[in-house]
């Protein structure tokens, strides 16, 4: 079974808007990682947040982690067409969810 589950499954927004996607997981973790995948090719690591951290920023990305709710969120601000991709969360970098497919419309 998959540890991480992303929500929503698909998201379509206008360029310049913010995109938020959520991830839930089932068991205790050491870290939660977010990845991006374009066109079914290799994944690109975006950000890693450890279990003792609550929030982390990287450029236009903001990730939060709530270990009590076993959930995380990824916020992409000021979206661009190039952000169109599938986004996955991975518990301890090993167990991935099914992903959120993000479409940025120009």
């Amino acid at each position: 079974s998959q540890q991480g589950e992303e929500d929503p499954q698909a998201l379509s927004i206008q360029e310049g808007e913010n995109a938020t996607m959520n991830c839930s997981y089932k068991t205790s973790i050491n870290n939660l990682q977010w990845y991006r995948q374009n066109s079914g090719r290799g994944l690109v690591h975006l950000i890693l947040i450890r279990s003792n951290e609550r929030e982390k920023h990287s450029g236009r990305l903001r990730v939060t982690l709530d270990t009590s709710k076993k959930s995380s969120s990824l916020l992409i601000t000021a979206s661009r067409a190039a952000d169109t991709a599938s986004y996955f969360c991975a518990a301890d970098g090993l167990t991935f969810g099914k992903g959120t497919h993000l479409i940025i419309q120009p």
């Binding site: 090719r41 290799g42 994944l43 690109v44 690591h45 090993l94």
Partner: protein, 113 residues
């Protein structure tokens, strides 16, 4: 520095055959993990190797095996191929293991007919 490389890029095999996929990690990375990604799904963890030893195994049958060589490159072998083994096989390397970010290769697209 070169990223993670995988070979071959694409592969077509017949049911019952055996296949070997190869992965070269980023220089200095000692951990390699393998994933299977079926279309429309997230990657499923198959194996993790660190310092040439198996450190983790996902829920895959014994038809799947792997090894890591002294230069930290790795091979994934799948025996007695089934149609359901058709997928993108991804290799990822990291400095130490699961507590660090992973760098993925472009994958090998395996089609079983």
């Amino acid at each position: 520095d070169a990223g993670v490389t995988q070979s071959p890029t694409h592969l077509i095999k017949t049911r019952g055959q055996q296949v070997t996929l190869r992965c070269s990690p980023i220089s200095g990375h000692k951990s390699v993990s393998w994933y299977q990604q079926v279309l429309g799904q997230g990657p499923q963890f198959i194996f993790q190797y660190y310092e040439k030893e198996e450190r983790g195994r996902g829920n895959f049958p014994d038809r799947f095996s792997a090894r890591q060589f002294p230069n930290y490159s790795s091979e994934l072998n799948v025996n007695a191929l089934l149609l359901g083994d058709s997928a993108l096989y991804l290799c990822a390397s990291s400095l130490v293991g699961r507590d660090y970010e992973q760098y993925f290769g472009p994958g090998t697209r395996l089609t079983v007919t």
